[in-house]
Structure formats: structure tokens, C-alpha cells
């Protein structure tokens, strides 16, 4: 009885998991999903905000490839084959486009360095200015007897 129940349970699990696994391996491409990751190659804007003739041609190509069952990656590869890497909305890791990756990193490094430097300056004991009186050396804490006597004398002043 138990092995049979186990087999039914495993079968049910397999039915539930199989479609999820298949869709994870080949996610179904959609026009809105691709449109915001590629450029209108002539207008210099993202495809989803453009309605120029070349943008319409790009959309038609994407729709055709979706109908052929191509994945998002395959469609982007096809777009690059037709229009070059400039069709991708993400900057390329070559030439001047490198600056799109490097500048933010440099700015973060500079900002962190600046904050660290400012914190170090702030925590450091100030350098003595010329003519400034010598700072008093730190006093050892009072022992209980001296503390009691000091309180008594201060109390006498308050009277």
C-alpha cells in the first residue's frame, strides 16, 4: 500500500515540476520583454518608445521570430546579426562604451575614499596651532576618599 502511495505522490510531483522546468530552460519570449532591452537603431531611443519606420521593421522581425518559437536570447542574437551590437540597449564592453561601466565604479571608489578620508580627518586629534596653550594632560580618576571630600566641599559652597 505504501509503495503505491509513494509512486502516486512522485508522479504528481513530476507532473507539477516538469512544466516549470521546461519553461525555465526555454522562457517564452514576448515583444514587451524584448522591446525594452533593444534600441531603435536609427532614433537612438529604446525600441518601446519609438514608432519610426525602422522601429516598426525591428518589431516585425521580433514578432516573426517569436512566432517561429525563438527564445529571447536567440531573438537578440538575430537582431545583432541584422543591425550590429548597437541594437542592444546595454553598452558594449569595448571602446568608449567602457566608460558606462568604469565611470560609476570610479565615482563610487572616489566617494568611498572621500568619506573615509573625511572620517579619518574628523577622528584624528587636531594639530596644535601656533600660540595655542598646551593641552592639559589627562588626570587620573579620583579615589573614593578624594571624591567624598570633593563632594563635601562643593556642598559647603552651595550653603
Amino acid at each position: 500500500m505504501l509503495p503505491r502511495a509513494l509512486a502516486v505522490l512522485l508522479l504528481a510531483l513530476a507532473v507539477l515540476v516538469a512544466p516549470a522546468g521546461a519553461s525555465a530552460a526555454t522562457p517564452r519570449a514576448s515583444l514587451p520583454d524584448i522591446e525594452d532591452e533593444v534600441m531603435c537603431v536609427e532614433c537612438g531611443t529604446a525600441l518601446f518608445v519609438s514608432d519610426s519606420p525602422v522601429a516598426r521593421q525591428e518589431r516585425a522581425l521580433i514578432r516573426r521570430l517569436i512566432a517561429q518559437g525563438k527564445t529571447k536570447g536567440q531573438i537578440k542574437d538575430a537582431l545583432v546579426a541584422e543591425y550590429g551590437t548597437g541594437v542592444l540597449a546595454t553598452p558594449q564592453r569595448s571602446g568608449f562604451d567602457w566608460s558606462a561601466y568604469l565611470v560609476p565604479v570610479l565615482l563610487v571608489v572616489l566617494a568611498v575614499g572621500g568619506v573615509a578620508f573625511a572620517a579619518w580627518r574628523w577622528r584624528r586629534p587636531r594639530d596644535q596651532e601656533p600660540g595655542e596653550p598646551e593641552p592639559e594632560p589627562e588626570q587620573p580618576p579620583l579615589d573614593p576618599e578624594e571624591s567624598r571630600r570633593l563632594d563635601a566641599e562643593l556642598a559647603a559652597f552651595d550653603k
Binding site: V54, G84, G86, L110, F117
Partner: protein
């Protein structure tokens, strides 16, 4: 004080980067100015894939001929409209040492080939898939046509559709020039 120079250097580098980015996007009008003043400058060259066959080609392959270099795309209505006129021009100047050379710009190969077939275009076409070649000609509105003399220099520029009149006025003197 110690922080001063690193900040100045970083700020200068950032401003320089921005200036380069802006300057790189500026329209260059040197070709138009040169042609307008009667000067002929070297036509930019590049080896590009052929549209209708495997292999590559370039403007330099046709040195010694007067070349009507036409940038077009299947998604560009005015470009498609002038294709029959360019084909008639090809037929007319072919025997006089002239030719039309199409450059298909940022286009789907299949779509472009459809027009080549539809209009029975007999002249060759290169494929400028990312527009880098057109950029060398400061292209900004399609179609654009450049007439290259037998020495490989730009003799005439047409930003916008060509007309029969413009071709008739531009080509005969260049076809008469010797190599």
C-alpha cells in the same frame, strides 16, 4: 590641501569625458563644405559584406569608374521610391565607365533583398548593417547619394532623394573625365 589635486584631476577627467561624448555626436559637415567649394576629398572606404551573396566588397573595387554611391534601406520610403531611377541610371552609364553602388543601411537583409528582386536591380549592393560606413559620410537623412569620380574622390553630394535632373547635370561631366 592633500585632497585638492585628486579632486581637480577627477573633475577634469569627468568634464573631458563629457566633452568627448558631446563632440563625438556633433554633425560633421566637412564633406558638404568641400564639395560646395569645388574641392574633392577622398571618399571614405570600408570593406563590407555583399547584400546578395557571401563575400565582401568595397568602393575601392570600382576605382577608375564614376560611382553613384547610394545609401538606402528597405524601411525608408523615399529610398525605395528612387530605386527604379537608380536602376535606369545604372543601365545608362554602365557602358560609359560608370555604375551605381547601393549601400543597404541598418536593414534586415531579407527585406532589402526583396526590393532588389522586386525592382530587378542589376547593380551591386554592400551591407552597412550597423551604419558605421554611412557615419563616415556624415549621413543624417536617408536616402543619401554621393558621386565618386574616377580617382575615388567625392565630386557631388545629394542629401535626400535624387532626381533625374540632378543626375543628368552631375554625371555627364564626370563621365567625360579621364582616369
Amino acid at each position: 590641501m592633500r585632497l585638492y589635486w585628486p579632486v581637480v584631476i577627477a573633475a577634469t577627467a569627468l568634464v573631458g569625458l563629457l566633452a568627448y561624448g558631446v563632440a563625438a555626436k556633433q554633425t560633421d559637415t566637412s564633406i558638404d563644405q568641400a564639395v560646395a567649394s569645388g574641392e574633392r576629398i577622398d571618399a571614405p572606404e570600408a570593406t563590407l559584406p555583399l547584400l546578395d551573396a557571401s563575400g565582401k566588397g568595397s568602393l575601392a573595387d570600382h576605382r577608375g569608374k564614376v560611382v553613384v554611391l547610394n545609401f538606402w534601406a528597405s524601411w525608408c520610403g523615399p529610398c525605395v521610391k528612387e530605386l527604379p531611377l537608380l536602376e535606369r541610371t545604372q543601365e545608362k552609364i554602365r557602358d560609359q565607365g560608370g555604375m551605381v553602388l547601393g549601400v543597404d543601411y541598418k536593414d534586415v537583409r531579407e527585406n532589402a533583398q526583396e526590393f532588389v528582386t522586386r525592382f530587378n536591380l542589376s547593380y551591386p549592393h554592400l551591407r552597412d548593417r550597423d551604419g558605421a560606413y554611412a557615419e563616415k559620410y556624415d549621413s543624417r537623412a536617408f536616402p543619401e547619394t554621393f558621386v565618386i569620380d574616377r580617382q575615388g574622390k567625392i565630386a557631388a553630394v545629394r542629401r535626400g532623394p535624387v532626381t533625374r535632373e540632378w543626375l543628368d547635370a552631375t554625371l555627364p561631366p564626370l563621365l567625360e573625365e579621364k582616369t
